[in-house]
């Protein structure tokens, strides 16, 4: 479980806002949302606070998309690498001077370090701080630390603000309107707020528990690696299919089954076709093997041509066996049969490999499908949360304008 989603200073702040607003409501003796018992000041302020909290919650989305669309102001702060290197050299110089005893306090070292980053024009991308070192732990007397300033705060903090102020805005909306269902606008606002808050809470728990759930199902390969494996198996099968097609030019049924299996991933159907194909071939191969064994024991000339001719009665391998059996020279006849058998072994292996690969890909795709389902389930709440939030924003603007107007 990702507990870091809940560890934030924004939580207590949001709680204080909710408690203070509730205390104020109780203190003035008003009832949440009822027009009769309402206090105009309270209604106005609770409304503005709720709107402000929603705005803060929405800033997370704005921040996220600004970066994604390259409109983030921080991207404009970029400095050349040569300036960074110059500042690193300057800071190393300050460190050496500090080790030499040129400074008498942390503040002095820090001032010199700050001067370096300002002079090199990199202060917007480097935050320098100095602390007293611990010589016993192998540190220098003064330790200059360099970090990226991350001026606008990490997205994690923005998500915390989104979660907590979003939840607080729900409480404020309730205090402001009391879920009064007396007017179409009120109904819509209340329903949408509830929808946004409930889907948001579902989202929080899915984001907290979902990763562990997904990791358990990923086993050794993560989501991305599964995709890569799937693509690699797909390429391998394609190469294999080309080889199979070359080896089985006349075996249309088997090639078609492989192609179909490749396209649809229907491994069971393919296994059945492969089995019947193999069974049919095995019969003639057994017969051919018998002939070969007989030939090996007796002299080649002693085996009558009729024995070879019987091989050509089988529907499979017919043309090749016919050709071999019709050969007049006994040695060539035997060599022909052996060649057909060798070819069969090769093609049999190729088809078998293709079926195995398809089976592997089926396994990967089944795993991927499961992971995709989990991922879908982890994100499906957003399909309601986001449109409902956008609609709510529009309605809030309308609500504010209408109150202003009337």
């Amino acid at each position: 479980m990702n507990l870091s989603l809940f560890k934030s200073v924004h939580g207590p702040i949001a709680l204080v806002i909710c408690v203070a607003s509730t205390a104020w409501l109780i203190a003035i003796g008003a009832t949440a949302g009822t027009r009769a018992g309402s206090n105009p000041t309270y209604v106005l302020w609770s409304g503005w606070i709720a709107a402000a909290l929603m705005l803060v919650a929405m800033l997370y989305c704005a921040r996220k998309y600004m970066h994604k669309l390259k409109y983030s102001p921080e991207l404009k702060l970029k400095v050349p690498i040569s300036s960074l290197e110059a500042s690193e050299a300057g800071l190393n110089d300050v460190r050496r001077r500090a080790a030499r005893g040129d400074f008498s306090s942390v503040a002095e070292v820090n001032k010199a370090a700050q001067r370096v980053v300002i002079d090199e024009g990199v202060s917007q991308v480097i935050a320098v701080s100095t602390r007293a070192g611990n010589p016993a732990a192998g540190e220098s007397q003064y330790v200059i630390e360099v970090k990226p300033p991350e001026k606008f705060g990490r997205m994690t903090k923005w998500l915390h603000a989104h979660i907590y102020y979003g939840l607080a805005s729900g409480v404020l909306v309730w205090l402001h309107g009391g879920f009064a269902m007396t007017h179409p606008m009120g109904i819509l606002l209340n329903v949408l707020t509830a929808l946004v808050i409930i889907t948001g809470i579902i989202g929080i728990f899915l984001f907290a528990y979902g990763p562990s759930w997904m990791t358990r199902h990923e086993k050794d390969l993560n989501f991305e690696e599964n995709f890569v494996l799937d693509a690699s198996l797909k390429d391998k099968i394609r190469d294999h299919l080309v080889a199979v097609k070359k080896t089985l030019p006349d075996e249309k049924e088997m090639v078609a089954a492989l192609e179909k299996g490749f396209a649809s991933g229907n491994h069971d159907r393919l296994t059945t076709v492969f089995k019947s194909w193999k069974d049919a071939k095995t019969a003639i191969v057994d017969l051919a093997n018998g002939v070969v064994a007989a030939v090996s024991e007796a002299k080649e000339e002693a085996v009558p041509a009729a024995a070879f001719a019987s091989l050509s009665n089988s529907p499979v391998l017919k043309s090749e066996m016919e050709k071999a059996a019709q050969e007049e020279d006994p040695k060539k006849r035997l060599a022909g049969v052996k060649k057909v058998l060798a070819n069969y072994t090769k093609e049999n292996q190729l088809v078998e490999d293709a079926v195995v690969l398809l089976g592997q890909r089926n396994g990967t795709r089944a795993g991927l499908a499961q992971l995709t389902r989990i991922k879908f389930f982890m994100n499906v709440w957003r399909a309601i949360h986001i449109p409902a939030s956008l609609a709510l924003c529009g309605l809030i603007v309308l609500h504010v304008l209408s109150v202003w107007w009337y």
Binding site: M1, N2, S4, L5, K64, Y65, H67, K68, L69, K70, S72, E74, L75, L77, K78, V79, P80, I81, L84, E85, E88, A89, N92, D93, R96, A99, R100, G101, D102, Q124, V125, I126, P148, P149, E150, K151, R154, M155, T156, W158, L159, F207, G210, P211, S212, M214, T215, E218, D220, N222, F223, E224, E225, V228, K375, M378, I386
Partner: protein, 493 residues
Amino acid sequence: MTDDFDVLGLLQSLPLFEKVKPGALKKMYVDPEKAKPGQQTGLQDKHVQFIVANPGEVIVRQGELDTEFYIVIEGIASAYRSEDGGKSTLLGSYGQNDFFGEMSAISHQARSATVKADATCTLMRMDVTLFQQLFGDKTSSFAKIIDERYRERALAFHLMTAPIFKETSQEKLKLVADRAELVSYEKDAVITVATDPADAVFLVRSGIIKRSTTGSMGEERVHDYLCDNSSFGEQALAGGEPTWGYDGVAMSRVDLVRMPCKLFQEVFTSEEDKHKLTRQVSLLLQEEQGIKTSLSDDDRNELLVGQETIKGTEALVIDLKKCTRCNACVESCVSVHEDGIPRLSKRGIRMGDLTLSSACYNCKIPECMLSCNFGAIRRDKDGQIHIVVDNCTGCSKCESGCPYGVIRMAHVLTPAEQSAQQPSIWESIPLLNKLIKPKPVEVMADSPKGKPMAKAIKCDLCAGLPFEACVYNCPCDAIARRSPEAISGIGNR
């Protein structure tokens, strides 16, 4: 330096280049009359540049991690070493035809001294790729002079880093330096065999050695990787008839200082010296036994060592129990790179619930930089590895050289292609973008064969920006940079 300066004449006049193969000289200077069509003629500034340093200017600074090699063409420069107490010691001066920076170029370690120009200096600066090629040819005058100078100037200092010489005087170290052998092994060469008698102590100048034993099932069990300044073979001095006890294999080209047992008998003659040496050897062997035990007990450590993670300085770690697979890290990586190609890949070494993503580890010994023949990979003074895209020829040697699969080959887009690929605001809106068919991007041909050329790309740690995009934009706090030691609790010896 003026444009009509006779670079070739100068190079040929330098003792260092007296007996180097003509091919090596061509890496520095291509005669316009002998150049192939399309080849850059004159000075090959990918590998070699001439620079001028004004009086007092710092040329290399102690502690920094750049690896260039310098030859003084004109002027005088001096080397100073700062000690812990802030005291600065003059180590020596360099005049015409002298050189410095070879230690860092060989070992890739931080500069051991600061070199300042005493008067206006003209220097020839050579990148580490070319330096390694020249130094690798042990029959050349270049390697011989560097080795001679190393023995003369630096070996005694280098020996001080070996734990067995902790209590040894400077005079004795000088004697050891004079008698020690400088040996080299090519990649995959066997340096020690477990059952062979141990007959020498080794100090690693450069390269990586893998020490392993064979387990009961015949499997290889990696003990550790020894990098620069590591020593091994101390058991040879422990008395009796010790064997190596492990197989030592060179993982890259390795330069070693070999000190046979006989050398110790010749140099450490007094009882006091022998006692000090024996004490250090026994302490070291006890310590080594401790390392072996802890490694064999810890699968995670073995995985890290086996994957050579120990060579890196920092890893990008994804906590899979926090990662919602939202892809914000990759999308943010795309946003900060003008060519629109993400440097981050979420594939990598899996350690339980952690993935050590294939983002650059900024290795102490950057294999990618050493395998690049075109000066397209360089390490800055702070140890960060950068790809110089303009120098990249797309040979992909760095891709195969990187032990972590961090470097990938990708078609880096031209500005025209970038603007064509930039999605419109409508294409960026979820759902709506499914309805809009993006314009096909016409990829320009920039290779001599008229095909699009793939160039090496890798994580640049968002250099120049005030954040690391993937870490900064992860909403679930699932991604962070950690040192391998912090993950595993182990470190280099």
